[in-house]
């Protein structure tokens, strides 16, 4: 069978995309196998775009997953809301489009950085963080996270647990990832 996209990343913006991309490359996924979803472009409310388009990507995944080894990674910042609330919203988005909820063993991973992806980046660079403060966007320097994200991927691949002081949302994401990769 010819090569095909194995991992679709549905995310809010370039920073989240590059975080996922560097992680997956660091994990050993060939770059041709990773694709940024067409719904992951544009400005405006990234969170809304992800939520609205999540069912479309899930529908396509379910259509093709029987004969292709494919998975979907969804990233949306928690911002001021709880992680649980975002999970609920995504579930509702499926329900309103008459799609069944995410199955336990389904290859859909949902990452919800709290407070946002920058929280994880600042933490991975070695600074203390909390999940309530807002950390600045690395506009035009989104690639700066590459070394630390690559290192994270290597640690995860070697099943090294995250330190105790890691943001809980990042720990949850690593567990989520282990399920699909």
């Amino acid at each position: 069978m010819s090569k095909y996209t194995q991992i679709v990343v549905l995310c809010e913006d370039t920073q989240q995309w590059l975080f996922a991309y560097y992680f997956l490359i660091g994990w050993g996924i060939p770059r041709q196998r990773i694709r940024r979803s067409k719904y992951s472009f544009g400005s405006g409310s990234g969170e809304q775009r992800v939520r609205v388009n999540y069912p479309k990507e899930v529908r396509e995944l379910r259509r093709y997953q029987h004969h292709l080894n494919i998975c979907l990674i969804v990233i949306m910042d928690a911002d001021t809301q709880s992680i649980e609330n975002h999970f609920r919203e995504l579930e509702n988005a499926l329900a309103t489009t008459a799609l069944e909820r995410r199955y336990e063993n389904e290859k859909i991973a949902i990452f919800i950085p709290k407070r946002n992806i920058e929280t994880w980046i600042v933490y991975l660079k070695g600074d203390m963080v909390n999940e309530n403060d807002e950390y600045p966007h690395l506009r035009k320097n989104e690639s700066d996270c590459k070394p630390s994200v690559t290192q994270l991927a290597e640690n995860c691949r070697n099943r090294q647990p995250l330190p105790d002081n890691a943001p809980p949302s990042l720990k949850a994401a690593c567990k989520e990832l282990e399920r699909i990769l």
Partner: protein, 373 residues
């Protein structure tokens, strides 16, 4: 990094100014002046490196048609690091008949201090400490920059000259790539017709050749390696070996590969130029890189390009009309919209995308809605 370009009186570029970032995408209608910017960069590069005489490179017909100005003016601002900012100025004077052209002045500055001045048939050089260096008569048929030979006291000047060698301006046309090479060349032609000779030169850097081979193995199914075969005393034929069933290898002449395969090889070669830890960084000006390339191959190449521009010091200026590139690259604020009102001068605006309702930016461009608000 090339930070700014100024062009006056070249085709549709009148008093034209553009600031650049590590990656910049030029978008706009056909004939809006995008390729003209690339042409100027190519001509300045060739002139400064002694690859052409002023009269052969800057033709009178290249002047803006609706003006009667005799002088063409060009400026490049290049940042070496945060402490060294170069400015290159070139003014060209055409006579009324359009038969004679000469350099009005050619100057190079660093941090507003002179490094070289050529005007009135005389070159004045300056040392690295900005003190006056040699002064001598010069006819200006060729660039003053190309006449510079490296010395211990002109390292700033020679840095600029050598940096220009890293400007690559290309509009690749795979079908024009010749399969044989008679000698090495250090820079590619615009169409990449001399790719094989260029790769012959590049492949001496084994690190680069290895990285490129690895990338092509991921990209071209079954690709194994390149090999040069002797087909004469100087002549070399570039063969690409692919694995087929039963682990057998089959060699194909470069011309036997498809246009798309040749294009991918060229594109990944361009991406790997900054290999080998060189301090000098390449500036790639690529006109329509997606031509001939299969849809699934475009985003991986763009992602790699974006990464290298942000992490490896590569700089890229791209011209594109392809929806895949537009949607991918314009997710970041790196796009410039070129337009001309009533065939007048080129005007350029930064592209800001606010498509909350979700129409892809390529669709907005196709509809002509994006920059007509």
């Amino acid at each position: 990094m090339l930070k700014r370009i100024y062009i006056d009186n070249y085709k549709s570029l009148v008093n034209f100014e553009l600031s650049l970032d590590s990656i910049s995408l030029f978008v706009g209608a056909n004939g809006s002046g995008k390729s003209a910017v690339f042409e100027v960069l190519q001509k300045i590069r060739d002139f400064a490196l002694g690859k052409g005489k002023i009269a052969d490179l800057f033709l009178p017909d290249n002047r803006t048609r609706w003006q009667t100005l005799s002088t063409q003016t060009f400026e490049l601002e290049v940042e070496r690091d945060t402490d060294s900012k170069y400015k290159y100025e070139l003014a060209i004077e055409h006579d009324e008949s359009g038969k004679n052209v000469h350099v009005k002045y050619e100057r190079l500055w660093v941090n507003q201090n002179p490094l070289l001045k050529f005007e009135s048939d005389e070159i004045q050089l300056y040392n690295d400490n900005y003190s006056e260096g040699p002064k001598y008569p010069y006819d200006g048929v060729l660039s003053a920059i190309q006449s510079i030979t490296p010395r211990n006291d002109n390292k700033r000047l020679t840095w600029f000259k050598e940096q220009l060698e890293r400007y690559i301006v290309t509009h690749p046309i795979p079908s024009l790539i010749e399969e044989e090479s008679a000698f090495e060349v250090s820079s590619p032609s615009i169409s990449l017709s001399n790719y094989v000779s260029w790769y012959r030169h590049l492949s001496q850097d084994q690190g680069m050749a290895y990285q490129l081979t690895s990338a092509l193995r991921e990209t071209l199914p079954g690709f194994q390696y390149f090999k040069f075969e002797n087909v004469g005393r100087q002549q070399r034929l570039l063969m690409a070996y692919f694995q087929i069933e039963d682990n057998q290898s089959v060699g194909y002449r470069f011309s036997e590969l498809s246009d798309g395969q040749r294009m991918l090889i060229a594109l990944y070669t361009l991406l790997h130029l900054n290999q080998g830890g060189s301090q000098r960084k390449y500036i790639l000006c690529i006109d329509e890189p997606e031509n001939f390339v299969a849809l699934p191959e475009i985003q991986p190449w763009l992602t790699e390009l974006y990464d290298r521009c942000n992490n490896s010091g590569l700089q890229a200026l791209l011209i594109s009309h392809h929806p895949e590139s537009l949607n991918y690259l314009l997710a970041s604020p790196i796009g410039y919209w070129f337009e001309r009102q009533n065939n007048g001068p080129t005007r350029v605006k930064q592209i800001q995308v606010d498509d909350e309702d979700g129409l892809p930016v390529s669709e907005l461009i196709a509809r002509g809605w994006l920059m007509n608000e």
